[in-house]
Homo-oligomer: 267 residues x 6
């Protein structure tokens, strides 16, 4: 319920290191108002990318983190009781429609089915939504754009997107950055010395290649950044990597031991 975050428009463009043509693609889908789906595993920068693009285009970004109980009402709005009165409160979708903001539905596949259906008329030529509780129709502001994210790496037990929804979006696949880019990100965000940053990236690459470990997800750049902060803060390097990179990945003690050995060899 309480998951919409409305960014104020300011001049700060958050740092984002492009790893492909995603900036070009976004610019064109945005200009054509084609809804866009950002696909990729945890921590590959999807949310950071959309914040970066919104700031660059000087557009307001409204983020809704979807979960199993996110409903159309959460997006569209509801009557709430204020003192003795009942007042209507626009949800983040309606706010975005009216102001021409970018609406970002993070992890859209997690949401309840009425969310998916509620956005359908906004993804084709109609660009209009009917709010039955108000009895009125709202036409999208010409700048309104819909962006969503989806993690296709969850291969079992997680929710899929229906094809009839997928085909309403253009899409970009996100993945981990290459070594040079990832090193640059760490240095830029934490001021860690480049040499140690390179070693952190090397550890990440080694672990990412260990397919046989059966990890559900692997090392994200975010984990490396956390490790870098701990090192800068004075925690020993090896303990920092164990705490911020290895322990979050698995609970099996033998796997943890093996990964600690691997990282200690490099550091």
């Amino acid at each position: 319920m309480e998951t919409a975050i409305i960014d104020q428009i300011d001049n700060k463009v958050p740092f984002y290191q492009a790893t492909g043509k995603e900036v070009d693609i976004f610019t064109h889908t945005y200009n054509n108002k084609i809804p866009l789906l950002l696909k990729g595993p945890t921590g590959t920068g999807k949310s950071r990318f959309i914040e970066h693009m919104a700031a660059k285009l000087n557009k307001q970004l409204i983020t809704v983190s979807c979960h199993e109980e996110t409903s159309a009402t959460d997006l569209i709005g509801r009557f709430i009781i204020k003192g003795a009165e009942t007042v209507w409160m626009d949800g983040p979708l309606v706010t975005a429609l009216k102001t021409g903001a970018i609406l970002y539905l993070d992890e859209i596949a997690e949401a309840r089915p009425d969310v998916i259906v509620a956005i359908h008329p906004l993804t084709d030529h109609r660009k209009e939504i009917f709010i039955d509780k108000l009895g009125t129709s709202i036409k999208a502001h010409p700048d309104f754009t819909l962006v969503a994210s989806f993690n296709p790496g969850y291969q079992k037990g997680y929710k899929e997107l229906k094809p009839s929804t997928r085909q309403r979006f253009a899409a970009i696949s996100f993945n981990y950055p290459d070594a040079a880019t990832e090193t640059a990100i760490i240095v830029k965000e934490t001021n860690l010395d480049e040499d140690t940053a390179k070693k952190l990236v090397k550890i990440a690459e080694k672990i990412r290649n260990l397919k046989e470990l059966g990890l559900t997800e692997t090392v994200s750049t975010r984990l490396l950044v956390d490790a870098a902060f701990l090192i800068k803060s004075g925690l020993p390097k090896r303990l920092s990597v164990k705490t911020a990179v290895i322990e979050p990945l698995t609970d099996e003690l033998e796997v943890i031991d093996a990964l600690v050995d691997l990282s200690n060899l490099i550091l």
Copy 2:
């Protein structure tokens, strides 16, 4: 809940390229007030067709996009609180019954079972519905017509329609248009040059024939139109096809690579 869209009647008949006898069939089922079911995969123009026919017949169209939580109450109406009073608000079904509009239940199989039962008395000789919350019966306006859509391509995990419901509708199967028609649609909608439009259609045909890929659904005309818009907007052709046609179809990186190779050969 908030999914009913009431089109205003105007003189604009949306473009629709017939691919079979569907206009004739609709005209006769409409004249006989026989409920009609539009069957077919995503993006084959079912919704566009019904909008076209409603405009041509100069009839109001009321669309309800059904989902797993659409209930009879959503269709029939409910009491809502307005200030200090409780007022009844007709749902889209009752509005259509009173005004003689065409009611279009998009993806009817997704709706809750009481929706299906609520429409039963409107699909046989009774043409009448009893609203117990009001204690009154509503007789259908003589022009009232029921149309629904259904995607039979969902072969696993999706909902079926009960035979006792199916047999209350006449039906039309929709499919992808032939190459000439599809090219014409792309050119007409996006002003793309005919030569590139032909190539987009060729790519679509190739992918549609790759049954061994195990795609849940395949390329719709809508995806081709999106690609055409991106090309017109200046994004390179190959990147446009990857973004708007291939990425929406699958998340498997090897399949994406194979489809990119295939499309690059043609473009």
Copy 3:
């Protein structure tokens, strides 16, 4: 919820073509107030039969189309808010009990379990129901009769009736009419020429015998009547049969093609 239909008593006895002893049986179970269960597939005239008998006996008929969410409250009644007051509104069961009407529970097996239990005391020597919300007991009018329908053809995934409920009803099996009767029904309802009506019935018989197609249900008389209306209205015969008879039966394109060939041979 909004599914009860209360027929006014008038002198119009709807056309019903008996196919067995069902009129005699009904007359005797009605005279003895033994609850009656009408069993049979979709479109074999169960609902039409009960409407016919009610009109013939000059009795009011109250129909409730049951579905997965039909509850005892829907049948018995509830308090509703009218302006500033709370008023009790009898449900269709209580109305029938008071007025001595015939209560017809269509597709009773679909209803919630409390519906089944609520009618138990009305199906044995007690003939009385206690309404706890009112704190009063209602004795059935001597003419009150309970009739229900059930489709035993749904062999998988559909609900069964508990034996302790079944044994509270006498029962009649309904099936498709013989060729002469079915032809007569089509001619009588649509004014189609007898020759074409015979051909429609022949097509239906052929399809009904194609057990190997694995259709969940087969051609009902209702589908033939729809085809006849489309033919009378001017749609070509073959297209009418495809639209009204074949497309509603299946979504598999090869099966549709085979059935179209079969019907074209006859027409």
Copy 4:
């Protein structure tokens, strides 16, 4: 919800034909206030027996037909809105506790778990219930007795009683009466001639022995009584048996045909 039936105490003792020691057993468990469970298939007279015993002992009987949604609140009572006031309404259990009636929970295993727990303190030395909504405790009237019924014949998919509940009851098994008793019941209830009644009982015995048919339940005395009424009313004997005995047992047409042959041989 609306399932409690409160019998008035009058002098009419309903006819009940004992088939074993059940009258003796009931008298002693009643005198010792030991809760009693009546076990047996549908239509073996469990409900009739308890009505008979209550009338004979000149005690009020309160019957609750349990189903999947029967809750402790349904038994104990609730606040209801009467005009502008909220008033407490005793449920059938509290009424029985206060007046010393016999409370009969028909098909107790169907009820929700809180029902089972709510009666626990009434089945041991405590004989007292605490009503938290009122903040008061109610001690059972010394005559209060609890009786429940349970159908152990449902071997799959139906609910069991927890052992910790079962062991709070003494129990009697009910079964179909022997031929002489069953004939006497039919004659007594319907005035059918004894010869035909004997034939009906013979048909029932034949069907009950056909274990290979896989019927979930078999012919109850109630079905024979219905057939007898139809015969008395003038419906042909064979049609009466088909309608009232055979059709309620099964929907498989071959089984119906076989049973009709069997019954026609006897009649």
Copy 5:
């Protein structure tokens, strides 16, 4: 909901025949305020034991019979409407916390998960509970003690206790008493002659050893006491044992017959 029973403190110590060191253990866990779990099958005296100990220690006992719908709110309290006012009503847990009573959660594993979590802070060094609806914290009275029961004999389909909950309790296993003790209990409770009481115990022992019968639970002392009451009341011995001991154990007629033979040999 309505399941809390608050015993008044009086001088009557209910009869309890110890079968092991349970009185010593309870005294020490009580003195150390270590929560205690009473484990064992139905009818082994767990509830009787806690009543006995509470009376002996002259402490108030508050019993909550848990079931699948028992929630933290049921234990902690709720706002209820009294006339026009909303008043807070302490639940049994808060009452016990304030007054220093013994809180007995009977069949704790059946309760909803928030019950388990609600008692966690009362089972470690914190001994305090925060009531968010009131915005206040309640510190346990120094005499407050938590006791719970659990039936580990339910091996399939019943709920388990999470290890993180189990490890918050010390525990005692309860089982059936030895022959001499069980005979003494029967004589003491029912005044049956000792000779017959011994025979009842012998029957119980025989049945308890028949592991091959596959009974979910076996004969409890409670069943023997019921049989003794019926015998004292004049019902024949064999019929008393059948009714009070054998019929409650099973519904399979062959098993009942075998157990009747076995008991008749002894009586």
Copy 6:
């Protein structure tokens, strides 16, 4: 619901015996405001550790014990009715955000999915939460820190944390202390003589190594402390160990007997 516990800040630092680098790690993640996940089996001191660290840092600790029904509303706050007014009451998360407390989500994997999502924006660079019921955004106090616990030992039937959540936390694995540390804890908490404390620890080690018993969890230090209290209180040593250590671990009588033999050999 009623599970938040707000510790007052006082100077009492609860005893905690470090078993690794956890104090260092916590200090650095706390200083960097990196969310921290405490992983490990029941009774390894996770909750005690966080209480110790909060007291040492002189920070308020707010604990929420999560369970299957803990929702975002429970954390964020709700409108409650106070007399005739509706007032907003901050939940524990908002209180922690405003005051800069440490929020400890105990057993976070048990909570409902909206809890997980609600904390996401607090675990990355945003550090801000939007409360839609109030229409306002709350920025985290610079001292606000999020800590959660998780028991990875539950290998079947228990909930997992999604990788996209795990990767938002640094993590520490907790395990049982070594023999010397565990002995010191027992002596310190209960004043038991060191010799007996050593024997208790020896028993624990033996049982922890009996992997073949298939215990879901094994002996925690908490159980040893309880046993020590009972011994100090005068209960015989062997009985104390049986009651406080062995009975909580298992219900299988043979396993209990084997563990009793094992412990008797040592004591």
